[in-house]
């Protein structure tokens, strides 16, 4: 139950004064509460935990992390050192 899962916001609406969204998790759609993520809007990726959005996923830093992974080891062989 404790896993936070990334999904993409398709639609945003209000229910009883609370910001809600329809979030797409790879084809499975669920209602998600946006009460604590005012910066999350349609098209954004968000980490959802028990039907509650915890944060907006930062695409730029996701890309940066992947770039960093791609650079691991390359630097070593180029510089001839054993570790980063």
């Amino acid at each position: 139950m404790c896993l936070g899962v990334p999904g993409q916001v398709e639609r945003v609406w209000e229910a009883d004064g609370t910001r809600m969204a329809t979030v797409d998790f790879g084809g499975v759609r669920k209602d998600v509460c946006l009460a604590c993520t005012p910066d999350v809007g349609v098209g954004d990726w968000t980490i959802v935990h028990v039907g509650f959005a915890l944060t907006k996923l930062d695409e730029a830093s996701a890309r940066e992390t992947l770039e960093l992974f791609r650079a691991v080891g390359l630097l070593d062989s180029e510089l001839g050192t054993g570790s980063v």
């Binding site: 936070g4 990334p6 009460a35 944060t55 992390t65 992947l66």
Partner: protein
């Protein structure tokens, strides 16, 4: 799916593993605190891909597993009442109480319902004004904002028939308790990424300073976990102890201030027992006095129920990383996911269930 496939890329995993192999010169013990990460590690066999001598110690971060027995017994007492609709995350249904579990209460006619989100329970209360709806609010800092929102919404909607049975646990005091234990072998930590998504990094710097132990905030995809391990090992080999964030796409240093505000409004810090481990001071949240009207323990007067744990189950040692699940004599024999003796065999995030599910019968012993 975006952000999932890319963070499971085998070619990149190879790079990270090669770098780890080139870095490590000595044995090290690293604890992943969170059960979600335990699951990723065992499912992908990450522990078996690491160099010999690098041991992953599985931590207590499965909220189902550390919910105290007496809290389960209190839940069972409430769920058996005819006027109650008892709502819970699905994982809790099979967790054994002293004599029973929620599943059996349900099969005897108790109105026990599995919900995906705590807010679904509020909606049930709205739709069933003649019934008492109780939500079993368990979890770490990650579930706390959603659990806290239930009472905020219940008040906003004027619901007199909703209450919360709270069992919230906090990660930083548990890390402190693990480091304070005389039998502690842990030399570095992967901190639970989504806990930090909510709470930020501030609580971890004092732990790094106090125990001189590297802590790397880590995500949940295979590459995230490998990167967290890689960064801890680099620090250990270099003799440094720093707080590092390997999961910046979901964790900002300040966390989520709006979520923290809701949590602080609704909960207050309390001592709490961790199943199998015992009392850890200031390691939980309970409803603040201002929300006493929504406290299920008070509404149904179950606060007096206490319980003692089975001596057969060695979950305490498993949850503190002192033994691996197959070292328990009951593992896979008297204790299986269908008939669990202890909570770590119930949830997919429990270390015993993860080992059982991925057929790791004894392979990681020793």
């Amino acid at each position: 799916m975006k952000y999932l496939d890319e963070f499971a890329d085998p070619a990149l995993a190879r790079r990270l593993l090669d770098d780890i192999a080139a870095t490590v010169t000595r044995p090290w013990a690293v604890m992943e605190v969170c059960g979600g990460q335990t699951h990723t590690i065992i499912r992908n066999g990450i522990d078996q891909l690491l160099p010999d001598g690098v041991e992953l110690v599985h931590g207590p971060g499965c909220p189902v597993c550390v919910t105290p027995l007496e809290t389960i017994d209190r839940a069972l007492a409430i769920a058996a009442r005819p006027e109650v609709i008892f709502c819970s995350f699905g994982d809790m249904l099979r967790v054994p109480g002293s004599e029973d579990d929620l599943f059996r209460v349900k099969s005897r006619g108790g109105d026990v319902r599995v919900v995906y989100s705590p807010l679904d329970a509020v909606r049930l209360a709205q739709a069933n004004p003649d019934r008492q709806v109780v939500f079993f609010g368990i979890g770490f800092e990650t579930t706390a904002p959603a659990n806290a929102m239930t009472v905020v919404m219940a008040e906003r909607l004027g619901l007199a028939n909703f209450s919360l049975l709270v069992s919230q646990a906090l990660v930083p005091p548990a890390i402190g308790a693990i480091m304070d234990s005389p039998s502690c072998r842990v030399q570095g930590f992967l901190a639970a990424g989504h806990v930090c998504t909510v709470m930020g990094l501030a609580e971890y710097a004092p732990l790094v300073a106090r125990y001189r132990v590297p802590i790397v905030v880590t995500g949940f995809e295979p590459l995230d976990v490998l990167e967290g391990i890689r960064r801890v090992l680099h620090q250990l080999e270099a003799g440094t102890a720093e707080l590092d964030n390997a999961y910046p796409r979901a964790v900002r240093p300040e966390g989520n201030p709006a979520a923290q505000q809701v949590v602080r409004e609704v909960f207050e810090v309390t001592d709490r027992a961790w199943r199998g481990i015992g009392l850890i001071p200031a390691s939980g949240w309970r409803l603040a006095e201002r929300w006493a009207a929504y406290d299920a323990e008070r509404r149904f007067d179950v606060g007096g129920i206490t319980a003692a744990e089975s001596p057969l189950c060695r979950s305490g040692e498993v949850l503190q990383g002192l033994i691996k699940p197959p070292e328990c004599a009951a593992f896979g024999t008297a204790c299986t996911p269908r008939r669990p003796l202890g909570a770590p065999m119930v949830s997919g995030e429990g270390a015993c269930a993860a080992y059982f599910q991925f057929r790791r019968l004894g392979s990681a012993v020793g």
